[in-house]
C-alpha cells in the first residue's frame, strides 16, 4: 500500500497529511470498485446483447423502483461519508493551535518572503522547527498568489490588501518545496521556495546566528549574500547575459536608457531607487516586473548591495 501510495502522492511530512491521504485513498478505492463494475457491465452487455438480427425484439423495461432507490441511496450514503470526513479534515486545517509559532509570509511577483519575530527576513526559504505548529500570516503586495506545500497537503491563497493564514506542523527535519499555485504572470512557475525544517535545537541556533550573521561581514560580502538570499539572480545575471532584468555585470557607472527616453548614469541613488521602487523608472527594453524591496531591505543592506554591485565587472 505504502509503496503504491508513494507513486501518486508526495511524502507525507505534516501532522494533517495522514488524514487527507486516508480520505484520498478511500475515495479512490471506492471509485475504482464502481468504475470496474461499470466497465465490466459495459463489456458484458455489449458482448451478451450483441445485435443478432434487425428484427431483434427487446423487452420493455421502463423503470424498477427497488433498483433505482438502491443506486440512489448507496451513492448518497457514500458521498455523505466523504463529505463529513472532508469537512472534519478541513476544519482541522483551518484552525491553528493557539500556541502556534507565527511567521509573516509575503508573496510578490515572483518570490516568497518570510519575516520572523526577531526581525530577520529570508527570501525563498522558510525556516521552521519540527514538531511545532507554525502559523503563517500571509499577504501579497501585488496580485493573488497561493501558498502550496504538497508534502504538507496545505494550500491557501495569498491576497493583496488582506491577510490570510495557513498552519502546519512538520513531522521530520528536511526540506520541502513551496509552489505558487495561483497564476500570477510571467515567472509564476518560478515562484517557488523551500521550507527548511530543523530539529528544535538546530532551529534555536539557526535563529540566533541568522540574525547576527550579517553583523560582522564586510559590506561587499554582505551584499553578495543579500543578493543571493533575495533571489535577485533569478532576474539579474552577473555574467553579462540578459535575463528578465538587465545584467549586473558592469552595472555601476553604466549609461542606462529609460523607457521614457531619458538617459541616466547608474549611481548609488539610482540603484537605491531601483531596489526600493523599481516601477518608478523602467529600463528600456524591460518589463516592469521587478518586485519592490521597500520594507524588505533596510538602508545598511542596500548600501552593502551597492558596494557589491560596484565590484561586478
Amino acid at each position: 500500500m505504502n509503496r503504491f501510495q508513494d507513486f501518486y502522492l508526495p511524502p507525507a511530512k505534516s501532522t494533517v497529511a495522514a488524514d487527507t491521504d486516508a480520505l484520498f485513498n478511500f475515495v479512490h478505492i471506492t471509485s475504482l470498485i464502481f468504475l470496474i463494475g461499470i466497465v465490466a457491465a459495459i463489456f458484458y452487455f455489449v458482448y451478451k446483447y450483441k445485435r443478432r438480427s434487425e428484427h431483434d425484439v427487446t423487452p420493455v423495461i421502463t423503470h424498477n423502483n427497488a433498483l433505482e432507490i438502491t443506486w440512489s441511496v448507496i451513492p448518497f450514503i457514500l458521498v455523505m461519508i466523504v463529505f463529513g470526513w472532508g469537512f472534519r479534515g478541513y476544519l482541522n486545517l483551518r484552525t491553528a493551535p493557539t500556541d502556534a509559532y507565527e511567521v509573516r509570509a509575503i508573496g510578490k511577483k515572483w518570490l516568497w518572503e518570510f519575516r520572523y519575530a526577531n526581525g530577520f527576513v529570508s527570501v525563498g526559504e522558510l525556516h521552521v522547527p519540527e514538531d511545532r505548529p507554525i502559523k503563517l500570516i500571509m499577504n501579497s503586495t501585488d496580485v493573488i498568489h497561493s501558498f502550496y506545500v504538497p508534502d504538507y497537503r496545505i494550500k491557501r491563497d495569498v491576497l493583496p490588501g488582506r491577510y490570510s493564514s495557513v498552519w502546519f506542523e512538520a513531522t521530520e527535519p528536511g526540506e520541502s518545496t513551496v509552489f505558487c499555485t495561483e497564476y500570477c504572470g510571467t515567472a509564476h512557475s518560478n515562484m517557488m521556495a523551500k521550507v527548511v525544517v530543523h530539529t528544535k535545537e538546530d532551529f534555536e541556533t539557526w535563529m540566533a546566528t541568522a540574525a547576527l550573521a550579517d553583523a560582522g561581514l564586510p559590506p561587499v560580502e554582505l551584499g553578495q549574500q543579500l543578493v543571493q538570499r533575495n533571489a535577485c539572480q533569478t532576474c539579474h545575471s552577473i555574467d553579462g547575459s540578459a535575463l528578465q532584468g538587465p545584467t549586473f555585470k558592469g552595472i555601476f557607472g553604466r549609461q542606462q536608457k529609460m523607457e521614457d527616453g531619458t538617459v541616466v548614469t547608474v549611481d548609488e541613488n539610482y540603484i537605491r531607487q531601483s531596489i526600493l521602487q523599481p516601477q518608478s523608472q523602467i529600463v528600456e527594453g524591460y518589463l516592469p516586473v521587478m518586485p519592490p524591496y521597500q520594507g524588505t531591505l533596510n538602508d545598511d543592506q542596500i548600501s552593502a548591495i551597492i558596494e557589491y554591485l560596484k565590484t561586478i565587472d
Binding site: 507513486f7 501518486y8 502522492l9 508526495p10 487527507t20 480520505l23 475515495v27 471509485s31 464502481f34 457491465a41 459495459i42 452487455f45 455489449v46 446483447y49 450483441k50 445485435r51 431483434d56 427487446t58 423495461i61 423503470h63 433498483l67 433505482e68 443506486w71 440512489s72 451513492p75 448518497f76 458521498v79 455523505m80 466523504v82 463529505f83 470526513w85 472532508g86 469537512f87 472534519r88 479534515g89 478541513y90 476544519l91 486545517l93 496580485v143 493573488i144 497561493s146 502550496y148 508534502d151 497537503r153 496545505i154 494550500k155 491563497d157 491576497l159 493583496p160 488582506r162 518545496t177 509552489f179 499555485t181 497564476y183 500570477c184 504572470g185 510571467t186 509564476h188 512557475s189 518560478n190
Partner: protein, 580 residues
C-alpha cells in the same frame, strides 16, 4: 390548449389509425384524419439544395442551415484551440524552455482555454446539434423565432471578431478565468477579449430563449411532455441555465472592463476593490456553464444508447428530471472553486455539501444508461462507440469530481494538474465525446451521406487512447503536487509530462483522420437512407437530408421516441389533409 391536451389522453387506438376520423379525448373532440407517410428515400430536393448560392446561406433563417454554419465556425475554433493545445504540450516536453518563452506560453494557455470554452464547448451542442435537431424532434418547421436564431449566429461571429482583434493586438495572458487583480493590471488586450466574450453571451442567451419558447409552443400534435425526446429535456435544462447564468458573466466582464478602462475600483484592492468578489461573480456563471456544456451531452447519450440498443430508455423521468435538478442545484455550487480563496467555513461546508448533492443525479444517469443496454439489441456503430467512451471517461471525470468536492483533499489538489485532468475528463472526455456521438448519429440526417465506418472506428480508437494517455498521467502528477499553468516544472514530473505530450499527438492523429473521412463523406459519401439506425424518433421519419421545411405534412406523434416494442409503421403518422 384543448386540442393538444386532447392528445395527451392517449385515446388514439391502433384501429383508428388507418385513415378514418379519429376522435380524441372525452371532453373536446377534434376530428383529425391521420395516415401513414413513409419517408422518401434519396430526395432530389432537400434543405441543402432548395436554395442556392452563398447569399442563400448567409441570409438563411432555416434552423438546419444555421446549425451547419455554427458547425463550420466551431470546427474552426476547435482546430485553433486544439493546435494551441498541441503547442502547449510540446513546450512541456522539457522542464525548462523547449521552444517558446514564458509569456508566449501564458498567452497560449489562456487562448486555448478561452477558445475551447467560450467559442467551442458552450455553443457546440446547443447551437450546432440543438439548432439542427430540436425543431425536427418537435415536429416543427423551425424554431419559434427563426430570425432571432440567425441574429444569434451573427452575434457569435461578432464576438469572435473581437476575440481575434484581441489576439492580434497584444493577446491576453490572464487565464480563461480572468482573475483580478491580475487581469486588471496585466498588459495585452484584455478588454477586447472580455468584450468578445460579453457579446458572445448574448448569442447564448438568445439561443436559450428561442429553444424554451419552441419547446413550449411548437410541439407536434400528440407530442406531450412525457414523449419529449430526452435530448430535448437536456436542451431545455441547458437553455434555462443559459438564460439565468449568462447575464451574470456579462455584468462581471462589464465591471472588469470599467475597472480597466475607467479605474473604478471594484475588484482591484489597489483601487479599493475586492478580488475575491470577482471570483464569486465569475464562478456564479462559470460553474453553471459547466452544465451548459455537459447537460446537452446527457441528452445525446440518451438518444444514442437507446437507439443502438433498440430498447426503451430505462428511467425516462429519472433522466429528464435529473437534468433539471442538475441545472438548478448547479447554480448553488460555485463556491467549490474557491475553497482555498478565503470563504467562511460555513459557506465552504454548504458548497461542499451541495457539490456532493449534484453528483447524485449524475450518477443516476449513468446507471440508467447501463440499464438501458441490459437485454438490448446492441449495435456497436460509431455513435454508440462514442457513447460508451463517454460513459467510461465521464465516470472517471465524475469520481474525480467527488474527490475534489471532499474539502480536505481539495485543499491539496486545488489548482494542480489533478484539476486539469478532472475537467478535461468531464469536458473533453465527456462533452466532446457526446458531441462526436451526436455528430456521427445525426450526420446522415444533416448531409444525407454516410461516413466510412471503418475509418470512424479507427479514429475513435485513436482519440480514446490518445485522450487517456494524455490526461491520465496528469491525475498522478497533480496528486503529487504539480501545479497547473506552469511553464517550468521540477524535473521529477518530466516522465508524466512526456507521456501526456505523446498522448496529445495520438489524439491529434485521430482528429486528423476524422476531419479527412468526414470531408470525404461530405463530398462523395455514399447516400444514406432515411432511417439508417432503425430509430423510432421523429427526426428519422423524414428523408435524409431533411426537406427544407422538415415535414411535408404535419406529423402526429402516437408513441414515445423510445417505444421500440411498437411497429415502425406507427411512427410515420401525419395529418392526412394537405393543409399545412
Amino acid at each position: 390548449m384543448a386540442t393538444t391536451s386532447s392528445f395527451t389522453t392517449g385515446k388514439i387506438s391502433a384501429e383508428t389509425i388507418g385513415g378514418n376520423g379519429v376522435s380524441l379525448g372525452e371532453k373536446e373532440v377534434k376530428k383529425l384524419k391521420i395516415k401513414r407517410f413513409e419517408p422518401v428515400e434519396e430526395p432530389q430536393i432537400h434543405y441543402l439544395n432548395a436554395e442556392k448560392g452563398l447569399w442563400s446561406w448567409l441570409s438563411t433563417v432555416d434552423h438546419k442551415r444555421i446549425g451547419l454554419m455554427y458547425l463550420a465556425a466551431i470546427a474552426v475554433f476547435f482546430l485553433i484551440g486544439g493546435t494551441l493545445a498541441v503547442l502547449l504540450r510540446t513546450e512541456l516536453l522539457t522542464p525548462a524552455k523547449t521552444f517558446m518563452d514564458a509569456d508566449t506560453y501564458n498567452q497560449i494557455f489562456t487562448l486555448h482555454g478561452a477558445i475551447m470554452i467560450f467559442f467551442f464547448l458552450v455553443p457546440s451542442v446547443p447551437a450546432v446539434l440543438g439548432n439542427f435537431i430540436l425543431p425536427i424532434q418537435l415536429g416543427a418547421k423551425d424554431v419559434a423565432f427563426p430570425r432571432l436564431n440567425l441574429a444569434s449566429f451573427y452575434i457569435y461571429l461578432i464576438g469572435a471578431i473581437f476575440a481575434f482583434v484581441s489576439i492580434t493586438t497584444g493577446g491576453i495572458d490572464t487565464g480563461w478565468t480572468f482573475y483580478t487583480p491580475y487581469s486588471s493590471s496585466t498588459g495585452g488586450n484584455v478588454m477586447m477579449m472580455t468584450l468578445g466574450v460579453f457579446i458572445l453571451g448574448f448569442s447564448s442567451i438568445l439561443t436559450g430563449v428561442n429553444f424554451i419558447v419552441t419547446i413550449h409552443k411548437l410541439r407536434a400534435p400528440g407530442l406531450t411532455w412525457n414523449k419529449l425526446p430526452l435530448n430535448l429535456w437536456g436542451l431545455y435544462a441547458t437553455s434555462i441555465i443559459q438564460i439565468l447564468a449568462t447575464p451574470v458573466l456579462a455584468i462581471t466582464l462589464l465591471l472588469l472592463t470599467m475597472e480597466r478602462a475607467l479605474g473604478i475600483g471594484i475588484f482591484d484592492p489597489a483601487l479599493g476593490g475586492d478580488p475575491v468578489l470577482f471570483q464569486h461573480f465569475f464562478w456564479f456563471y462559470s460553474h453553471p456553464a459547466v452544465y451548459i456544456m455537459i447537460v446537452p451531452g446527457f441528452g445525446i447519450i440518451s438518444e444514442v444508447i437507446s437507439t443502438f440498443s433498440r430498447k426503451t430508455i430505462f428511467g425516462y423521468w429519472a433522466i429528464a428530471l435529473s437534468s433539471l435538478a442538475i441545472a438548478f442545484i448547479g447554480f448553488l455550487v460555485w463556491g467549490h472553486h474557491m475553497f482555498t480563496a478565503g470563504q467562511s467555513s460555513l459557506a465552504t461546508m454548504v458548497f461542499s455539501f451541495l457539490t456532493f448533492l449534484v453528483g447524485i443525479p449524475t450518477g443516476i444517469k449513468i446507471f440508467n444508461w447501463l440499464a438501458t443496454m441490459y437485454k438490448g439489441s446492441i449495435q456497436l456503430s460509431t455513435p454508440m462507440l462514442y457513447a460508451l467512451i463517454f460513459l467510461f471517461q465521464f465516470t472517471i471525470g465524475g469520481f474525480t469530481g467527488v474527490m475534489l468536492g471532499a474539502l480536505s483533499v481539495d485543499i491539496h489538489l486545488h489548482d494542480t494538474y489533478y484539476v486539469v485532468a478532472h475537467f478535461h475528463y468531464v469536458m473533453m472526455g465527456g462533452m466532446v465525446m457526446a458531441f462526436l456521438a451526436g455528430l456521427h448519429y445525426w450526420w446522415p440526417k444533416m448531409f444525407g451521406t454516410m461516413y466510412s465506418e471503418f475509418w470512424a472506428k479507427v479514429s475513435a480508437t485513436l482519440v480514446f487512447v490518445g485522450f487517456n494517455v494524455t490526461f491520465f498521467p496528469q491525475f498522478i502528477m497533480g496528486a503529487q503536487g504539480m501545479p497547473r499553468r506552469y511553464y517550468n516544472y521540477i524535473d521529477q514530473f518530466q516522465p508524466f509530462h512526456v507521456t501526456s505530450t505523446i498522448g496529445s499527438y495520438i489524439m491529434a492523429v485521430g482528429f486528423t483522420i476524422m476531419a479527412i473521412y468526414l470531408l470525404h463523406a461530405l463530398i462523395k459519401g455514399r447516400k444514406a437512407s432515411a432511417n439508417p439506425w432503425g430509430s423510432r424518433a421523429l427526426e428519422w421519419q423524414i428523408p435524409s437530408p431533411a426537406p427544407a421545411h422538415n415535414f411535408d405534412h404535419t406529423p402526429v406523434v402516437l408513441n414515445g421516441p423510445y417505444d421500440y416494442h411498437r411497429p415502425m409503421s406507427e411512427f410515420q403518422m401525419g395529418v392526412a389533409d394537405k393543409k399545412h
